[in-house]
Amino acid sequence: MEPGMVVSISKLCKSYHRGGQVIPVLSDISFDIAEGEFLALMGPSGSGKSTLLNLIAGIDQPDSGSIVIGGVDVTQLTETELAHWRALNVGFIFQFYNLIPVLTAFENVELPLILTSLSRAERREHVTMALKVVGLEDRMDHYPGQLSGGQEQRVAIARAIVTDPAILVADEPTGDLDRVSAEEIMGLMDRLNTESKKTIIMVTHDPRAAKKAHVVRHLDKGVLTNAHSQDTL
């Protein structure tokens, strides 16, 4: 890994097995992600973007290759070690928010903190702060069903940042939102990147969302085609 790099991916391969057939998804992927970088992964459907994101986030395992994040090769960790590692290092933002409907916004954001040794008061402090960052401190007692899509995604972002992870991974974070809400979410992610120095890896189809990224990498049929830095860098 080069100095200043937080993620180093080397010769990564991944395939799926369906009905005796081997379907290659990612072929020999190698690249690095710098600390504090905002990376957008783009490409057509089925190009392997989400699979690559899942591998980086430690929620899937490659066939071969390595992913070193902060000095740890996550491909060598056991399920239990991976769970612990994810809880500490990665915040997740999903396309469909994936909030737990029977929990309030506060309780949803508090979920990752249950795994820590923080006291109840400390947890409350962290959750309130995270909800304040996303501008929803006045909605903490609302259930997901009582919030708009944009608000739900902001709760999901609060949940992603409440443990203060170094990396945020986002899979189509604006894919289910209208234009105004999508712009709000991208603005929020941009702030998290610039002000809180979070490394963000985002899969998106949306060119407007991708514009917020420093680097855009394109995938096609499991192969990285090109990468370019943007003016915002």
Binding site: T80, A83, R86, A87, L103, L111, P112, I114
Partner: protein, 385 residues
């Protein structure tokens, strides 16, 4: 936010489904509790039997009598403290459906031997003075509304005729297992009436009740009693009161076994109901469990959420089932009092309720847990309800 809160919120996410499942568990446990109580009631006589008493009967069969003269010889056996005797009378009160146990007993010795039947001194004295008097258990007197001084007529089946008795006492059980539905009257009244009729059944008793000083010597005393009458025209079999009562219960062994089997089938039905509910809930929430795993919840924590939800549902059903068993048993006991004189829900039954509910809660969650543990997070996240 506590994990328990998540468990309850998850358990009641589908209120109707969870409610119906809890009702099913409640009804099933109520049925289980009642069936177990019926079995307990069947064995109540065995449980209530005293280790300090033996029963001597004709070796051929209980329906063959023994001579009254045996009483003096039995009393002389080393270790015997008292001897009483009686006959099954088999009288019918108004109608056959009013069945209750009625015995002709030796009034002088009976209540000394059966100290679990408490009768006030004045009533006992009145009973002793009246040759036609009878004493009934509290529940029996309540059942027919008998009061002291009432005349009751029993129609004899073994000893034909209409037999008139006057109520002189009501006994109460000193412990919950004591049978309070027995009707006892003077054996002398029966014997003297038979004498008047010049019956061949005079001075014949159905069985002897033998008090012993040391239960540890029961075997040697039974042998000693039976050896007294070996090779006589009426040989005896003496056994502990428990063995004697068990002999009667054993006649209904097949029915008890069937009830026991049905009670366990009920548990299997609960298991199927809860397993179905938990499996449906977990399948609907595959995506959420994938999210939990993504957030860093290890496999066993997620397993704990599923297991906890299953146990919350079963234990709530258990609590309602146990609570409903008491009043139901009371109603059932009243309605079936003639057949089950002692009908109490035992602590053992409640323990079984709780234990089985807990086990059902665990078993019902096993398959969903296994599936969730095996689920790959990326696949789980793709599943949308």
């Amino acid at each position: 936010m506590h994990i328990l809160k998540i468990l309850f919120k998850n358990a009641f996410r589908h209120k109707l489904r969870t409610g119906l499942t809890i009702i099913s568990i409640t009804i099933a446990l109520l049925a289980f509790g009642l069936l177990r109580t019926v079995i307990d009631a069947w064995y109540a006589g065995v449980e209530a039997s005293s280790a300090y008493r033996l029963v001597t009967r004709n070796a051929v069969s209980i329906i063959f009598p023994l001579p009254l003269s045996y009483k003096d010889r039995i009393r002389q056996v080393d270790g015997v403290s008292a001897v009483s005797w009686g006959n099954w009378f088999g009288g019918i009160y108004i109608d056959e459906k009013n069945f209750f146990a009625n015995f002709a007993v030796d009034a002088r010795t009976y209540f000394d031997l059966y100290r679990e039947y408490a009768i006030p001194d004045d009533q006992r004295t009145a009973f002793m003075r009246d040759r036609k008097g009878f004493v009934a258990g509290r529940k029996l007197a309540q059942r027919f509304g008998w009061k002291i001084g009432d005349t009751v007529v029993l129609k004899g089946t073994i000893f034909p005729g209409n037999w008139e008795f006057v109520m002189r006492g009501i006994y109460r059980g000193r412990d919950p297992n004591a049978d309070e539905t027995v009707f006892v009257f003077h054996w002398d009244y029966l014997n003297e009436t038979l004498k008047k009729a010049a019956s061949t059944r005079v001075d014949q008793v159905g069985f002897y009740m033998v008090g012993i000083r040391d239960p540890a010597r029961a075997t040697s005393i039974t042998d000693a009693v039976d050896s007294l009458f070996k090779n006589s025209y009426a040989e005896t079999i003496t056994e502990t009161e428990k063995a004697f009562t068990l002999g009667f219960v054993a006649m209904s062994d097949a029915i008890i076994t069937a009830i026991e089997l049905v009670s366990f089938v009920v548990i299997i039905i609960i298991l199927a109901v809860v397993a179905n509910t938990v499996a449906m809930s977990v399948r609907e929430r595959t995506n959420e469990y994938a999210v939990f795993k993504t957030l860093g919840f290890g496999g066993w924590r997620v397993a704990g959420l599923i297991l906890g939800e299953s146990i919350v549902i079963t234990m709530l059903g258990c609590a309602f089932g146990v609570a409903a068993t008491y009043p139901a048993a009371q109603i059932f006991g009243k309605a079936m009092g003639a057949y089950f004189p002692v009908f109490h829900v035992s602590p053992g039954t409640l323990l079984l309720d709780v234990a089985f509910s807990f086990v059902v809660g665990i078993l019902a969650a096993l398959v969903p847990i296994y599936r969730t543990l095996r689920m790959r997070i990326a696949e789980g996240l793709r599943m949308v309800e």
